[in-house]
Each structure stands twice: as C-alpha cells, then as structure tokens.
Symmetry: C2
C-alpha cells in the first residue's frame, strides 16, 4: 500500500518503520517540525513535508499518529483528498473522525514505544476499527502485514484498553522507580532489581496475575507489612500507596469480587 | 559442598536444584510435610526427612528456606550440629541467628519463584551476609557457583531490598490483574496486554524507569486522566489508586524530590 504518515513521534516512527519493512511505500511524512519530519522521512525513504497543503494525493491511507488534541484539526485538512484516514489513538472515538469523513478507521497499537528502543513489531497487538466492514477488512489486511496480533476492537473497548494500559504499563513503571529510590537511599543500584522486574513480567506471559501473586499481602503477613509501613514512615505518600495496594491484594485473595 | 536444605517451598526448590546442577551434594531435604520433603529430595538426589532428630551431621551448611516465623525455631534445633546455618529471608536480621550460633549467615535470592516456572538462576541476584569475613567469603564462593549476580548486603540493606521488591514485583503483578479485570468487563482477554507488560519490563533493563515513563500522567494530560477516572467511577478503590499513582507521577515529573 501507499501510506502517508502524519506525525513524527514514537508511534509514527515505529509504525512507519514497520510498514516500510513490510514492503509498503511510505509516500510522505508530515510533521509541523520540519526537522523531525525530515529525520523520519529519510529513515523510511519518504518525502518530508511540514505543511499539509503539500500533501501528495497519490496515496492510499493517511495514518494520523499525533497528540489526541490535534487529530481532528489535521483530519479536517486531509479529508478533501477523499482517502482513508485512520488515527492511532486509544482514547479517541471513531465518531470524532466520522464527523469529518465516512472513509475513516482506527489503527491502535497497544504498546509502549520509545525512540531509543527497537520493538519486535510482530508481537505488537494492533486494534482495528473501521467505519464499515470493507474499511475494517482493509485495515486488518494492512495490520497483518506488520503484526501477528490483530484484533477487531470497537471504540468503547479501545478506551478500556487505553485505561488498562495505564495499570499494566505506566503504573508498574512508576513503581519500578519507587523501588529504585528506596535502594538508592541504602546505596544500592537499580541493577539489583532488574532480574526480578523481568521475571515478574515473564511469569504472566504464561499465567494469570492472580495465580502468581507473591509477597506479604497475598500471604496476609501482617508483621512484614507493619515493618514495611514503618520503614516508609518518612514518606506518607509511599506509605499510602503501600497500604492501599496491599489492602486490595488481601481483598482479592479473600475471594473478593475481582479475581474470584 | 555438602548442603542440607531445610524447607520444600518455592525458594527451597529452586535453590536446591541450582546447587545440584552446580555439582554440589544435597545431603538431606527436611520438611515437616513428609510428602513435600520426599518430592524435592527425589528431584535432587537427597535423603528426605520430616524430623530434625534425623539430621545427618555429615554436611557443610544448613540452608533454611522456610516461612520467616519458623526460621529461629528450626535454627535452634540445628545449632547443636555446629555447622554453618544460613537463612534465605529478606526480612530477617542476621542478629536473629547470631543469638543462637556464631556460625551464621544469610543467602537471600532477590527473585520471585514459582514451582511451575523454571528460572535462569545465573541471573538471580544473591545477597550475602556472614557473621564474620570468613563466613561471608564462604557463602560468596558458594553463591558464585550458581549465580553471576552476587552482592554483599547487610541486614538493613536486605530489609530495604525486600521492601523494594514489593514495589517492583508484587504491586506491578497486582496491577496486571486490575488491567485484566478491566478488559474482562469489555469481553477482551488478558493476552492482549502481555506484549505491553513484557516490553515495559524489558525497557528498564537498559534504562531507568523515570527516563521511559509514558502515559497521561507524565504528559499531565488532564482530559485523559479525567476520562479514565470517570470510567472507574463504579470502583472507588481503583479510582483512588489511579489518582494517587497519577499524582505521584506528575509530582516526580515536575522535578519532585524523587527522580530529580
């Protein structure tokens, strides 16, 4: 397919590279920052533009990978070309695009991207939604050229995935940082925790989290939890986090509503 | 070395197997549960005992891998044999053993173990403490036969590691379960989140958490956070967790005391 990438951030960068590797032609890369557009365009053999009046209409799909609050403004400028427009946002309803064009879809990669780290794109879940069955199929077909994990996901489900990703990715990463801070206070380095962090994530690749939960809370080991809270005494926010999460683990383990 | 394993739980099982693979002789495995003792003993070519009066004194070290609250009771029964006694607990001070014997140490593996999952023991951080320099060296030497990550760690540091592990492992695993629950409410399966969870842990193998933090909180994206809180409206505990962790991420990102 002929693909035009709108955006030059993390998602745009990884998507463009995956499409290019799969043999698609990246026609243009747009970014309001000419330097960023040029960098990514060079990388994927495309033309760089920093002005949407320079769009090449000889393309099949515009993939919009920009901040949520500018998606619609950009889509409005692309609609006159009458080509398929797909956004990549977890939090943006397809209706927002449908107010502009019937030829609309969503191509949402459920992954955390950094420009500095390669990702095995074949394992990235791609969540597809189209304005109609034909668009959905076209986007699914495109998705299958770059990933083995392609899902049909409606806008409500996608919003839920986006929220779940905060719990599965953003919050754990923050907690890794808390652990690093605690070690630092005792002159120990973060490298000591890396094998534990990796193993914790690897465990749930084959099991469900509730089945491999370990630690003082799931054992209801009150002595250890009290000792930990005392150690956190000089940081009331961390103590609050410790109490709240421990209580929820205890509740779940006692046959709470959550994990049965 | 000749090693006697006291306990038959997750830590005992993985340690015994690692020692056996490294060419050490596992003399006996003790568990008050005769069946569990027999299972592990068979696996590592040792004799099983469920009564400490049957201990074979022809050993070099007793490795105590049992629940924290029974360590000392068992150590008292082993002290008369005058051999090195090491516990494997993150939360138990070496002083607790020193009240019983001078020939004491700690051999704490900083990892989450499940019987159902193999672990690459070479990457497991082993945290060593000895009652004196000679004991420390002997335990370090033993540790290096099974792991590439051997650290000298005093009892205060070990307590901190144990606390940090709750933040780096137990709490993230709980949050994976929350994400699973949210998906389930929209008829989506946990497998959709597995690549994201793995990538999140892999990212911090080469980076520090604060440098790869993503999500609405670190962008201070108030619209998305408000929408997420609304979606969690029928679960006040999850909403509280969401608010608290998001606030802390925002605080850190604004040059808070934690990650600079």
């Amino acid at each position: 397919m002929r693909i035009t990438i709108i955006g030059s951030g993390n998602v745009a960068t990884h998507l463009a590279a995956a499409f290019k590797n799969a043999g698609h032609r990246i026609v243009q890369v747009y970014s309001r920052d000419a330097h960023n557009a040029a960098l990514l365009a060079y990388h994927v053999g495309a033309e760089a533009i920093d002005d949407l009046t320079l769009v090449n209409p000889e393309t099949d799909v515009f993939i919009i990978a920009v901040r949520d609050d500018v998606i619609i403004k950009l889509a409005e400028k692309l609609a006159p070309y009458k080509k398929l427009i797909a956004h990549t946002s977890g939090a943006t309803h397809i209706e927002a695009l449908l107010a502009i064009t019937d030829n609309a879809g969503v191509f949402y990669p459920l992954q955390t991207f950094s420009k500095t780290k390669e990702v095995d794109f074949w394992s990235v879940p791609l969540c597809i939604e189209g304005a109609d069955e034909q668009i959905t199929r076209n986007l699914e077909q495109l998705a299958r050229t770059v990933s083995n994990n392609v899902y049909r996901v409606n806008s409500l489900q996608r919003k839920t995935l986006h929220l779940a990703a905060v719990f599965a990715c953003n919050f754990p990463n923050y907690l890794y940082g808390v652990a690093q801070q605690l070690l630092g206070e005792q002159n120990m380095g973060f490298e000591m925790l890396r094998p534990l962090i990796l193993e914790t994530a690897q465990k749930v690749q084959a099991h469900f989290p509730a089945d491999v939960q370990t630690g003082p809370a799931v054992r209801n080991d009150e002595n250890t939890m009290a000792a930990h809270l005392q150690m956190l005494g000089n940081d009331p926010e961390l103590a609050k986090i410790y109490s709240l999460l421990s209580q929820e683990i205890i509740k779940n383990n006692n046959g709470g509503h959550r994990h049965g």
